[in-house]
């Protein structure tokens, strides 16, 4: 399978008071052409930051990539200038965000906002751009497309807004769509609509999707492969079936066990003890060790390396040191 995006040993840090805090530590994963990759993890594990790093959207923050490579189509993104990145953003890699409410400019008409990327990236003139916009709106299932162009975001419901966001993202036929929690703010029935739409579009256009979520249900529903993050690190990567069937990392196991499942008559849910650690104050050794029920001596001393298993599975946990598997890094 063709690799569309390859993120390797990515490290991103923020500076505050002249002090640097590294948030992402050697994040490595890839996305194949036409595939939906899920990125899961608890709040603060660095999911959004990973996506922003890919787009290099650091303006207004102190964030910067300090190490690592991001290969997109064999172009190296980390060394690209801001103006070169602008040509990629919205054209080859598009993005949608969690809050459809705040991600649209409240004082601009939908049309104006939607036409912007079409004009810049496709170079369409007024009329042509508008026609294109309308066809895209139809594609994302928006009725009354022409009227909607003249409306303002607050006149639309959350679901409609998210459709607009999707329309904006796919308007220039991107090869990669990054969707950062696209349905978290939506109701279940609307979430179902949006997920359904995303799936359809992805299949029709053969788009690759990086789907960021903390909802394991969504992952199971949508993704081909899954990357699990914890404390700025990738702790496990697997095919979606493998992951749910036989999660390897205790963290993944904990996550899956914590979710109440319908029909499962369980008086007590599994749970992960403790809390997510502070990125500026991480424990030594495996970052998950203090919360891990299976932690061993070594876990508190040394960070586990990433190990590769059959079926392209990867996991970083000392439990599998003995198992067959190549240690990379």
């Amino acid at each position: 399978m063709e690799k569309l995006l390859h993120v390797e040993m990515l490290e991103t840090e923020f500076t505050k008071d002249k002090q640097k805090t590294k948030i992402l530590h050697g994040v490595t994963f890839h996305i194949n052409k036409g595939e939906v990759l899920g990125l899961v993890g608890e709040s603060g594990s660095g999911k959004s930051l990973t996506s922003l790093s890919i787009m290099k959207l650091f303006k207004g923050t102190s964030g910067e990539i300090s190490r690592g490579n991001i290969q997109f189509h064999n172009q190296e993104l980390t060394t690209k200038s801001e103006s070169e990145m602008r040509k990629i953003r919205g054209k080859q890699i598009a993005m949608i965000f969690q809050e459809p409410m705040t991600s649209l400019n409240p004082v601009m008409k939908i049309g104006e906002q939607l036409l912007e990327p079409i004009r810049i990236h496709l170079g369409f003139k007024e009329k042509q751009a508008k026609e294109h916009a309308i066809s895209i709106l139809k594609k994302v299932g928006i009725p009354r497309a022409e009227e909607i162009l003249n409306e303002f975001p607050h006149q639309l419901s959350g679901g409609m807004r998210q459709r607009i966001m999707i329309a904006m993202a796919i308007s220039c036929n991107p090869e990669l769509l990054i969707a950062d929690e696209p349905t978290t703010a939506l109701d279940v029935t609307i979430q179902a609509q949006i997920l359904d739409l995303l799936k359809q579009l992805q299949q029709k256009e053969n788009m690759s999707v990086l789907l960021i979520t903390h909802d394991l249900g969504v992952v199971a529903e949508m993704c081909d492969r899954v990357v699990v993050m914890y404390a700025g690190r990738v702790v496990e990567e697997a095919d979606v079936y493998d992951l749910f069937e036989s999660p390897k990392h205790p963290y993944t196991k904990g996550l899956i066990g914590s979710v109440p499942k319908i029909g499962q008559k369980k008086d007590k849910l599994d749970s992960i003890k403790g809390n997510v650690p502070d990125p500026s104050n991480l424990p030594k050794g495996c970052k998950f060790a203090p919360r891990c029920n299976d932690a061993m001596g070594i876990c508190f001393e040394e960070e586990p390396p990433t190990m590769t298993f059959e079926n392209d599975r990867k996991c970083s946990c000392w439990l599998y040191k003995e198992e067959r598997g190549d240690i990379c890094v």
């Binding site: 303006k59 953003r89 919205g90 993005m95 965000f97 705040t102 601009m108 810049i120």
Partner: protein, 307 residues
Amino acid sequence: MLQYIVKRIFEMIPILFIVSIVIFFFTHLIPGDPARLVAGKDATFEEVEIIRAELGLDKPIWEQYVTYMSNLFQGDLGTSLKTGLPVMDMFTDRFMPSIYLTLFSMVWALVIGLLIGTFSAVYKNKWPDYLGMVTAVSGISLPGFWLGLLLIQIFSVKLGWFPTGGIQGWESYVLPSLTLGAGIMSMLARFTRSSLLETLKADFIRTGRAKGLKESVVIPKHALRNSLIPVVTIAGLQFGFLLGGSVVVETVFSFPGMGRLLIDSIAFRDYPVIQAEMLLFSIEFILVNLVVDILYSYLNPKIRYAT
């Protein structure tokens, strides 16, 4: 929209009615006897009483109020006790210069304030920001009359660029509006900066950048308009400050405006002028806020389209 404006204007009537009552009694509460002041220092008791009767000040206050109100409803603002001229006549020459002064001050303050605020926000914590904010903080920290006197010394006496006062042409407005607008300019610069900084953190700015827009599009097109909403509100409220601040500026620049007239009238207990002018100020203030609300709704589509 038109309907709304008409409604708002109708709503002004009861407010103005209350305001007129307040003003009337407030004015008469000020100690000091206009009859005595009109008569002059060397007047005898009888003279003062004659003048008091002449001015209708010997009647009970409620009767004076009824007269005042009934005249008011007929559009008659009364006659100045001090000059014997109709209040209207005293306003005609002063009103427009005052309005121009306020408007000029507002306009330059808005333009410069927005510019400084925007640059400060965009170059946050870099030298344009520091420069802009130093200017802005200085602007609100300078006593207005002091600034005015300095400007006269520098630009009129030393350089001879602008007249020291009066109203001869547009040049006459330069120094007074500079003085009057300085505070507001600063205020607006600061508000624009913080509002813009807030907006720049918004998700839709990130969306814009993710679309591949340039900063030169993101800032003016996406950010600034959103930031203007609070700025406009502040600007409207500051109008009151302009009306009041003009008193001091008019004094410094011997500018024949409404503020100076009010001070003089208070000094002279010229009731009809004080009342008419306070009323006028209230009307102006209310109208300005109406304009602000309309502008606000223009800037903020949520309000415009609320159904």
